[in-house]
Symmetry: C3
Subunit: 266 residues, 3 copies
């Protein structure tokens, strides 16, 4: 994947302004909407079971995130995911906190089976999901550490689910089960702002709206978002200003800066 | 409507600090509360059917916004709107996404019939609501474009509903069915920050709390909010800093700046 | 309580990164999470009755805040509070708007009886809660004004509930019924940013996770948060930039600044 390809996808988002339907958590709704607007996409946050099926059919991509999970959200998310499949609307899943409680784990597993094109999580979340995908193997999440172990689980989860799997952390990995792409953009201060992982997932949704190859769309999204975070961190004095600068950086990102600074390998 | 009148209304808000009850969407709750606080009003976000009737009776204005619509919100909004009428508390309605889905359209139409003093939307939302008000005329929303067509629909909606209708966009229009006021404040970068339209609606609520003429209150609110956005855009480097600067500008707005820069005609 | 003790507690939070479980309102979820992250703690916002009992057992502290109260939240909050007691997880209660409506008052009173280690509110909220604790005394909330009257009520509420009671305002008071600590940090501009009181409550949760003495934890939290607000106000141009600077200040707070500037007496 070249820097020029990433730039062309970002330019396509800015030109087409795809409608990205989000069923996401209450903590990050505002940030995710602002990240999508700064990027050039059109966000909508629509959650009711009474309208998600109608709304997803109008959209170019769907984002499902279970951060502040509640029972009505599960039904709405399932309805939206099923309709997205029928309407050929690609969707990305963010299994926030998978494995933390039985309820969250069961919900994450159930949604992961409904055909997301991409699943993005941190190492623990991907390991928790992958463990389910390999039921009976008896290896607990707690016994698995480090990104190499998570990457192995991600490859298997990709094969089982058919989705591209993204593990984000100091280095981001994306795999479709065989290919693995690494993204080296980003900055440690980003971990001190709530919901930047969730915003990254929303940004993946925007890239999925313009690029059918899920691996390529995800790598491009994570590189773009990580680079904006890097640029923001150069100007920020702490996590408060980082969040402000990140939106400004996403909005201002130009071809010369992006192609010079994205660091994607594989 | 003169700049001096607008200033006197802003000064009245700062002096009286009216309690503005918001039943609004999850994306913009924080921003709307902050916009009202920066302006000088006292915001409250209270949503449960178990208490909205009691709470609206304590308030000087009510704001209803259906951005992240869900079934319990419909019941709570209806109860609050009905009690607001009984208690003579003026209320403003923001029919976010009217027309996008049948559920949203039906809800918007039902709430618009409960006596709002003001309805604020973009051109598409006002056209969707007005189409219902002219049922049987058979002109689809999609066939109507441009602000002149929306303005025509707004005049009819104003006469049918008894509310002042605000169409916001590059130019804002407010009409009571006969009079039309234009507001030329604002900045294009404001469209890249989520929920600024919703915040404008909340600010209309604060002006309604101190000015019984709905047309005047709405024009003053949109001019004040648009001017704060303009001032913010002069200092901002993108949509992230625009949002921060907008709150600072609303808070700092003084008589000399406001009277020199508001652009209201009609 | 010395400045050195406060510093040691802040250092302990940064080192241990305690998991703070929040069942809080929709307006401040983002801000509270960011305040906890900037401080050095690990926030989680988990609300469903289906998982709060499991989640609180994983946490080092629990925060319950009823700002945008709804019926499911009451059940979830009660379940979490009861499990917190069983699991010896300390919790802090923020009775937002206690006394404003019968529903809110009844909920606040019921939760206050479930064993919070700390209750933090403004004068009106503490007076409303204390009135219930002294049922039959017949003194209405409206007849009580000023911080001295609230402090008297707080002492009684502390004795009745077993919690440390914090009244925040121009001066913050914390009492366990006998001892009273005053905190003189903070800045008036903080009242123009929504949810900073709620963020202060979340920060109390983080200090409770590392300090078993509820009075000491609360005083340290309010001094730290108030000082960050003071430093932010020196740099801010209004309430928008204050919020950004506050997170940066919390993150950057060092031993020399903290020990030189916290103002705690008693």
């Amino acid at each position: 994947m070249t820097a020029n390809q990433i730039w062309r996808l970002l330019a396509a988002i800015r030109e087409r302004q795809p409608l990205v339907h989000n069923i996401t958590n209450f903590v990050v709704m505002n940030n995710s909407a602002n990240a999508l607007l700064a990027l050039g996409a059109s966000p909508a946050m629509v959650h009711s079971s009474d309208e998600v099926e109608d709304f997803v059919a109008l959209s170019q991509a769907l984002v499902i995130n279970i951060g502040t999970l509640y029972s009505e959200q599960i039904a709405a998310s399932k309805l939206a995911a099923i309709r997205a499949k029928v309407a050929s609307v690609p969707w990305v899943f963010d299994p926030v906190g998978a494995g933390a409680t039985p309820y969250r784990q069961a919900t994450a597993v159930a949604l992961a089976r409904l055909g997301p094109r991409v699943i993005r999580g941190n190492g623990s979340e991907i390991l928790a999901l992958a463990q389910q995908a390999r039921a009976g193997q008896g290896r607990g999440v707690d016994s698995l550490h480090g990104s190499e172990a998570a990457l192995d689980a991600a490859r298997k989860l990709a094969k089982d689910s058919g989705a591209a799997i993204a593990i984000t952390g100091e280095v981001d990995y994306v795999t479709d089960g065989s290919r693995v792409v690494e993204i080296h953009n980003g900055h440690p201060l980003m971990t001190r702002v709530t919901g930047l992982g969730c915003s990254a997932t929303a940004v993946i949704g925007a890239f999925l709206a313009v690029e059918p190859d899920a691996l390529a769309a995800t790598a491009a999204a994570l590189a773009t978002f990580g680079l904006a975070g890097e640029i923001a961190a150069e100007k920020a004095r702490g996590p408060g200003s980082l969040q402000v600068e990140l939106l400004d950086a996403l909005y201002a990102l130009d071809e010369a800066t992006l192609t010079a600074r994205v660091r994607v390998t594989g």
